[in-house]
Amino acid sequence: MIGYPKRMPTLWRWDGEDEKHITLIVQKTMSVQLLNPTAAYIYYCCDGEKTLDDIIELFLKKYNVEKGRITQDVKEFLNFLISIGAVCYEHNGHSVNKLT
């Protein structure tokens, strides 16, 4: 499935002493979410131009981990971001609310 995860418009910033965390406002709950560095990298990659596979490839380059596991982890985390409304995922012009 080719789709392009995209950050929803909100206030967010790189955060923490080495600016590898991200903090953002979750509009749905008006709460502030702090993302740890790996979560932050995935969120950052959701620019509406990269596919899920692109993100996984980038992730593999950055972190030395096994592909099978990472695919599942990235999907799960993207599903979390979609569920809180921080990211939307479009596939063939339709928005998808869960990656399988």
Binding site: R13, D15, G16, I25, V26, S31, V32, Q33, L34, N36
Partner: protein, 347 residues
């Protein structure tokens, strides 16, 4: 990941959790795996007291408003707003004193809106008319009105001005009429009004407000001077129990009841080490929260960023703050900090 629930309506943005022992275990686990930052690049929330002017004179006001201080000019306030925008602060609460007593109140609010900074405000409702209410609807994500009793007799006694109850209720109605969705009420408990809380709950339901919040008084400022007005531990426990039970029963329809706890707020700060919030006083002093009244900077000396970087971002770890705050085990210990209020912490 960690969700930091900003309580944008309380004077201190309490990160309160009923299950905070679990929360601390969670924090420790995250720390073990190096998943938490050592500090944030900028405040997450700012409590901004834009004035010390106030038409009321509540028995317990933590910052002793109304009082005469060298307030900042409109230009200086706008400069602060600019910096807040640049630093991407996630929530600002305009407070005071009575924030609407400043003629440039909406100018500041408008600038924050233009900068896309989520902003809320707190008011005693004294000078709200329907035009002003429309401006509140335009500029603020949520508005909190202080209501210290279910009737004029009780409320006006605590807030020490006749007519203040009627005006607070009128303000809530005008805010509703102007379409503000999130109107909350805060109730500060003293010996005069603590038993009337259930009636305030009823009133809030009738008025259609979305949440009602209370917490033990912070025994600082006038609450320290008038300490005979502070309820006992047992009275606060009873109030807390009432809130817990009412929430459990889920009886209050759309009205959400909230309980804040200054002591757990302090414990959270000490445990996390890093700060989430910053308080700016009407004079421009910078401190962590009203509960930790150590001045760690001034907006006119390097601005928010310098105050944050030089000390506030890890202010809970400052040896003096840590030593004194660690001794606080109940709200009644907070009063001993008062003589240290407005004293500089040398960084």
């Amino acid at each position: 990941m960690l969700e930091l629930m900003p309580d944008v309506f309380s004077p201190d943005f309490t990160v309160y959790r009923d299950d905070y022992e679990d929360f601390f275990t969670y924090i420790d686990e995250l720390n073990q795996h190096n998943l938490l930052p050592k500090y944030f690049t900028a405040p997450v929330f700012i409590l901004w007291e834009i004035t010390s002017k106030c038409p009321l004179n509540c028995l317990y006001c933590y910052n002793n408003s109304p009082k005469k201080v060298d307030e900042l000019t409109t230009e200086q306030l706008l400069q602060i707003a600019e910096e807040i925008g640049k630093l991407k602060v996630f929530a600002v609460c305009l407070s005071g004193g009575e924030p609407s007593a400043r003629p440039d109140f909406f100018t500041i609010a408008e600038r924050l809106l233009d900068l896309k900074i989520p902003t809320s405000t707190i008011t005693n409702g004294w000078n709200i008319d329907s035009d002003k209410a429309k401006n509140y609807a335009k500029y603020f994500q949520s508005v909190q009105v202080s209501l210290d009793g279910p009737n004029a007799e009780i409320h006006d006694k605590v807030r020490r001005r006749e007519g203040s109850f009627d005006r607070a209720v009128r303000a809530i109605k005008l805010f509703k009429e102007s379409g503000i969705d999130r109107i909350s009420v805060s109730f500060a408990a003293t010996v005069h009004n603590i038993d009337s809380f259930p009636s305030v709950v009823e009133l809030c339901q009738d008025l259609g407000v979305s949440s009602l919040r209370t917490q033990p008084l912070v025994i600082i400022g006038r609450a320290g001077i008038n300490h005979q007005e502070v309820p006992t531990k047992e009275q606060f426990e009873k109030l807390r129990e009432y809130i817990r039970n009412t929430k459990k029963e889920g009886q209050k329809g759309c009205l959400e009841l909230e309980w804040g706890d200054p002591v757990s707020h302090i414990r959270t700060g000490l445990r996390l080490g890093f700060s989430l919030s910053m308080r700016i006083t009407a004079e421009g002093f910078l401190s962590l929260t009203p509960y930790a009244p150590y001045i760690m900077g001034h907006v006119l000396k390097g601005g928010i960023q310098q105050g944050w970087e030089k000390g506030l971002r890890t202010g809970w770890l400052h040896p003096r703050v840590k030593e004194e705050m660690s001794k606080i085990s109940s709200i009644y210990d907070i009063q001993y900090l008062d003589d240290k209020a407005l004293s500089y912490v040398h960084l």
